[in-house]
Assembly symmetry: D3
Homo-oligomer: 220 residues x 6
């Protein structure tokens, strides 16, 4: 399941991130995936202060966003990082690694997130293309847009033919790793929220009974 | 989970079953569980026409009962049979066998059912006592009452100290063998039915989405 | 996961189906889903000889198609049926029912299939739109095209604003009900087929060891 | 499954808790469940020293109790707290929340526990009523009695019509979240303990083989 | 887990099978596995009357064997067939196919069985070698010996360097497909049988409670 | 599954461990399993500096070994300890305890490891015998050899009839507790490594897609 939120970042946050990107030190993207000959991109140096400040801005947005929290049941979030694709760059079809070596326990990537910073009119190509068998979801978000998608898919950034594409990316470990289970629990929570007190109290209690027990059953 | 339905059988059906029981041939109850020294009861001969006619009446009641169908998700139902406990008889604490050798494929006993035929005032003792650790559910139903309870429990018929207890018993294989899963799916179905068209259409579609997918996921 | 096969039906088969549709008796589509106020379509009468002949043609195509067999691990296939949408008709967002009452055992709908018969230029609107959270897959196939998609999704046929849309639809119960598991097993089978004898024999045996054991583990 | 232990607390502990309750600061019970209009009770202030001392006494009793440890496979225990129901108070039918925000990782509520402090003769009504479909388990324990029951149930405290009901409550995260699995493992442990060295050594090793492997398989 | 039964077949049965093998028509073993270049053996023609008579003898032995029934929880058994390895023949490392196309529903191979017919002194090499990572189980049974082993392993028949090896082979679909679960349930059944009435009745009931519920939980 | 690595420790490490064993303080082996009358061995005192130094050497070897890391998916490793069996000593058939009380969270024993230190010619008997039903794997390694085997088995050290057997033992908690799942994931990883860049890039991406998703699905 996909969640796209168009104004995930405020205009001020987008400007701040764009500015920090001009100051940040960038490294060869293959650093985080050295064996992949199809990866041609630049990524922020996680030890660079500008990148670290950008990560804090992005993290704060993730933590305050109720739609994201309801959708993702996040347990841990990896530090967001810059990715920059100049003309000729791309990231060929790949699967995100299952466990990222972050902190004392590796972080399982259940959801991947791209935050779009610059204007899609600034570059040609560069769509995030997510493979679902013979069909493909293509995303090219406006500045401030966030897309959350399953890390379990094969996906790619198609070649940028002109201009520069600037985004931040991160990975989320969810309390509910199975995509279908996570979506069913999210959906019941939305029904409860949307019906509010309009639903009979007894039915609301029954709905909460189901939600609480699915949550216990599926959390890992 | 338990489902007790007080007027599961009509008065006419109860009378017909009580009459058939006077004509039926009874066998030593240990026939169906020869190694259990605590089983002292009489059960109908499944080959006897009176018992077979009684089984048809009970089966028809099970098939027409919407509350039972919604609660149990029945796939197969064993032929109901008479059980008669005279003074001094009992069925000590036991678990129902997991698979009954019925037909080409054994029938898994997920739910057990007792149909009460004669008046609880006609006998002393004889409660169906279902063990839940240190607590116990005790059932002594009026004529026509049906109790459905998990076959997965340890349960007993406590000794009849006076009079005669006459019931029919049967076993149900459910599409959803896990008790908790079955109850969650039943509960969502009740919420949908009780809210009816009062719930927003979009929320109703979302609820059906969850119900259909849990049903696919859990049916075995 | 999605599988679209463009020339699933031969030109002759498409013509035969189009001709049979002119002879078939059509019924109100709500017949198969009476409680859904958003369903406005016409479906073939399953007892009509023209519809039955069309079902045989479609079924034969499903049974001979190796890509479909490899992708779907079909155990049972429901009888395909016509669906016709005239101007103003639609099928609002819905989930396919989990179990269809077909034959002695209900058929679990794991995959849904639409076979496109007439030309997409013949009608406006009428796309099959499959909901994946905030993103949507839209399909409007050429004559003879088949699309296989998970029955577990919320999907719809958007209103036809002009012309007539003619398709056949059916449902598949898979040996592997879980979508992700089915796709992983399919993918390993494709790798084995594509590498063929180029892969070292010992590695091929290891791959078959994994495939056979996942197949045992996941089939239900 | 239920575990009731009548003399869980010593007489001295009960007296100490009753005394601490007279000193403790109480808050509106809705504080811990603000959206529930059926909750009318007073709960201890977790920051109050008297409540904290009471929590230590209750926790020590939980940690030393072998029957509780064997039954519950506790991994974490929430800080016990006072709950006081005066005449007219109640806690309507509800499910305990699946995860409590305690410490760095939320605590999953698998088992709920009520410790009874004052005499059941001191109040009318106030039973803990645990819903099992159409049947209900009702508990009104003597001072020092502990009842452990699945947090997965819908349960309530029925209205107190006269007098005051004083209890402590807490929640346990078990190593074995599934209720049936936890009970099967507990039961095998009891058989092993009760048979002791009377069972053949070889059979004892086999039993331990099963217990150890179920423990590995089911712990989460 | 492995089960070797040395006198699985009587002397008379072994003689009858050896005689039938002299009459039976043999086919190239690659018939049942055409893509495997390492398979060099002769197998009985399933349509030949001598092979069919041998299959009946072997099947009767499987059906009467209590140790096999207790160990395997068989649901379906494929028709046993002859396999003959002459000098130079072998069956290289392979996994048995997960589903055999037998009858209306394919048969899942959970357990494989070899019945040894002729004397191990009659041939050199020809051991059944079952791979368990870096360790290997090697079996060369006496006439009448049966070995049951998981179909989930990679195994082989090492080359026969002199003489002739004659066996029958078959495949069993178990009610309990997972090997570990099947072994735990078998082990508890053995403990119950070996302790018999020596175990306290209450503990026996508890043991049966666990056995019945694991059986329900794990059967597929 | 079993993994035996013959030169797991270097000659220098073996000598160092043998020397430390002469300095270490040994305790009665029943200390770690007091109720087992069949355990007669001496184990290192975990608080003794010589044992602690030996543990560091063994741990370093486990951490640097790529074959072990690939095979075991280790999450935590218990501190290795000496075990010494003099003539007449043994460790009868037993299962390793499921959870070892190490650190803040108990460590689940998924894999057991024996490191052989002295020469097998130095003692008679003393094989590590691992029970697989009626078949047995017997291991008597050379100095420096490591054997990794499932903690889920019943196994024993057969009586030492002459000489002294000196080993180190430890336990591993794996990210993938289920033995079959762990072996399938390990096998796919081996295929990927062995095929390297010889496999088509697209097929390699597909293989990585399967590996990453099985890893997410099975890690606990």
């Amino acid at each position: 399941m996909f969640l796209r939120i168009d104004d995930f970042l405020s205009v001020a946050e987008v400007q701040a991130l764009a500015h920090l990107a001009t100051q940040a030190k960038f490294l060869d993207g293959r650093r985080s995936n050295p064996h992949n000959p199809t990866k041609l991109s630049a990524i922020g140096d996680p030890n660079d202060p500008a990148t670290q400040k950008a990560a804090q801005i992005a993290l704060a947005a993730l933590q305050r966003s109720e739609p994201f929290q309801n959708f993702a049941f996040p347990r841990r979030i990896a530090g967001p990082n810059f990715a920059r694709y100049e003309a000729g760059m791309k990231y060929g079809a790949h699967t995100d690694v299952a466990f990222l070596p972050i902190g004392p326990q590796p972080l399982r990537s259940d959801l991947s997130c791209t935050l779009f910073i610059n204007d899609p009119a600034d570059y040609q190509g560069g769509e995030l293309a997510i493979n679902l068998g013979t069909e493909t979801i293509r995303i090219k978000g406006k500045p401030g847009c966030a897309i959350f998608y399953p890390s379990t898919t094969i996906h790619e950034v198609v070649p940028v033919s002109a201009g520069v594409r600037l985004v931040m990316i991160t990975f989320i470990e969810s309390q509910i790793p199975d995509q279908m289970q996570r979506d069913l629990l999210y959906t019941l929570g939305e029904v409860r929220a949307l019906e509010g007190l309009k639903i009979d109290w007894r039915n609301r209690v029954q709905l909460e009974y189901v939600i609480a027990n699915l949550h216990r059953m599926w959390a890992r």
